[in-house]
Symmetry: C2
Subunit: 136 residues, 2 copies
Amino acid sequence: MSNSPNTSPAPAGTKRGAAENFSGTAWVTLLADTNPTDCLVGTVTFEPGVRNSWHSHPTGQILVVSAGTGYYQEKGQPARLLHPGDAVIIAPSVVHWHGATATSLFAHYFINPGASQGLTDWLAPVTDEEYRAAHA
Amino acid sequence: MSNSPNTSPAPAGTKRGAAENFSGTAWVTLLADTNPTDCLVGTVTFEPGVRNSWHSHPTGQILVVSAGTGYYQEKGQPARLLHPGDAVIIAPSVVHWHGATATSLFAHYFINPGASQGLTDWLAPVTDEEYRAAHA
């Protein structure tokens, strides 16, 4: 047995999420980088209380929760509490954030189809008030 | 908290993989069915010794292994032994099969971008001889 020649080389390990887009420590691991399906796949693990900023994806995104408890919120909508096995379908250009609850780690897969058309448009941080409201 | 209106309804639970495409019992759970990202996501769990038939995907597929030990093989290539956390990138139209080893359960996520262009073109079953060769 050996690696298939049609399989992309393993991406380059785990990186810290960019400080300007996360409220604290989050770890990002790419599982499928640039590849012939044009779909990017990876995981994000948020420390308790950590969330990303408001953002959107030009071609949408799917999340599948793998560990812990977290939130997903779209602009103007109530937050959704997420548990392992839950999937979230994020339509193109919908503004949203996701992250851990105050007391739990949170990890999810992320799936970005059409990755060559752009991954993420980052906006303002989620304020403490907005984050606290998610817990209400 | 409530479900977001932009989130598709939960797909309809777990179904047995079609008998004509699997050598035995496999369970298929859709996590993201038809949706605005045009990307289908789900899981397959193969009982030990069970594999699917040779097949290809018009827009490719990505697998991420979640449990157990299994194989992925492309036509004319050696089989690749897979463990949890491994990702497989399957280019469009590449003929391949995947399934459990003889002695282990095997579960993976499947990700089909461009789902509206077609999901799977099924071909012949993987013979016992082909399957045994994967273990060599």
